[in-house]
Symmetry: C2
Subunit: 253 residues, 2 copies
DNA sequence: ATTCCATGAAGATCACCAAGCTCACGACCT
DNA sequence: AGGTCGTGAGCTTGGTGATCTTCATGGAAT
């Protein structure tokens, strides 16, 4: 979506836009996630980081400040910067989730997210049933249509699913629930990614999503709650298959 | 709690200027919360901010980077820095909540937090009932004792209550729930703050908290859930009185 | 064992260059 | 003549590098 080069003519891929900051931050974060800088260890001196990433100290410092503000590292004055434990990270932060990326499977996070979704989304659906505006219900309908139409395209289907759940949380008109859209996006992204082979499940999911929209339209809290729970049961199955695919070397017994 | 100058003896308020960074960041954030820099407006140029806060441009830039990483502002290259809408802020971030401080009453957040707590804490209590270690239950017991003993001290009681709920979320062994400790802390801090006059309610709260510890000890999920719900009912009453006290000029009809 | 100091890394400042977004001015086209 | 479009100046952020200050630390000296 963003970060495009709209330089019209004679496509020179010179990419003369630096945007060093964001790249360096993401790179350091990825290196931390990849255990290149293990938890509890000090990362190199700022001057060494400058050399390693080929940027000035200012950029390094700003990147470290960002990572520190998200709980991933902790700067100790005149001593060094130490990598914090993963339980101190702001894993609800969308950027942090993005940096973790595929390694979310190693974080034992998806199960926690599913548990949290089971606590939150049915309640959010209830609130949405009594608070959603007609506009918001229309947005949900559009997202559902996108899910139905994007059957062949896995990425398109996932995006539409994410959009659906985002709209649902918005329609709950609760700021706290809305903040949780990030983890739900991550959960959907990495659960659905692997379950694209199960076409019949997807049809079932599409049905449930449609029923939820109808429940909201009827202002039927109980039905909305029920639909949400059924959706999460489907998500649980998807997650199980996704986890199985992603950790093939399961220590059986 | 932190950010103090513990300059022990012979109180020279010379304030040997450490930690400029943190102070500036907090000050800018507070100014944003106080609508000195309203939502949607551009804040002054970085050079002007240097003068205003009496620091170098590097410090300003690092502060803005931190605020940007929390969704409070958005830097537009070579144009300026614009204050984001409050619904874009990472309100689950502990630092952001700290910066908001008392103004949380103006954010219409406490009601949302209570709704979220009703969705989450009973479930967390259930998980704690089946997952808590004996050590964690002992910690909860200690926090409860601190609540009971710290009857005279309002701040002490609040701290103990915060510690109790933090331990409970830890005992749920769910990383997502654990991240929500920040908003629950904020909710308790500002709800209990005002309800210190209701001594009998506090006694009731202490009883319910004790019952919850016992339920965890018995591994009784249903009882734990029930205790959590009753606690939240008490919290709802506290919140109502706190809100009433904080917005005295209620437009009554 | 305690005190003191040299060391080194982060904290902070300053001056500077690069790059591109804005806006206004002027030329060109209708 | 008037409106539109290109262009360039200027301003502001993005990024660099040198420099100074401040202390946390570990080892040396007492």
């Amino acid at each position: 979506m963003e970060g495009q080069e709209p330089q019209g003519v004679a496509g020179e891929q010179v990419q003369r836009r630096p945007r060093v900051q964001k790249n360096v931050t993401r790179t350091i974060a990825s290196d931390i996630c990849a255990d290149i800088f293990p938890v509890g260890s000090y990362l190199p001196r700022e001057n060494d980081l400058c050399e390693r990433y080929g940027v000035s100290r200012t950029v390094i410092r700003e990147s470290l400040k960002i990572l520190e503000s998200k709980g991933m590292v902790r700067g100790r004055s005149r001593v060094g910067t130490v990598v914090c434990g993963k339980d101190e990270w702001n894993i609800l932060d969308a950027q942090v989730l993005e940096w973790i990326g595929e390694r979310i499977f190693e974080f034992d996070l998806l199960n926690c997210i599913l548990e949290a979704r089971r606590a939150i989304e049915p309640v959010a659906a209830e609130f949405a049933a009594e608070r959603a505006t007609v506009q918001e219900i229309a947005d949900l309908e559009r997202a559902w249509q996108a899910m139905r139409d994007g059957e062949g395209d896995v990425a398109g289907f996932t995006d539409a699913d994410v959009a659906f759940h985002t709209c649902l949380l918005k329609a709950s008109h609760n700021q706290v629930f809305l903040q949780l859209v990030g983890i739900i996006q991550a959960a959907l992204k990495f659960s659905l990614h692997a379950s694209n082979e199960a076409a019949e499940r997807r049809d079932e999911a599409i049905d449930v999503h449609r029923e939820l929209v109808e429940a909201l339209r009827m202002r039927d809290k109980a039905a909305a709650r029920d639909c949400s729970i059924r959706m999460l049961d489907l998500a649980a199955r998807d997650l199980a298959t996704a986890v199985k695919q992603h950790s093939p070397a399961k220590p059986v017994l």
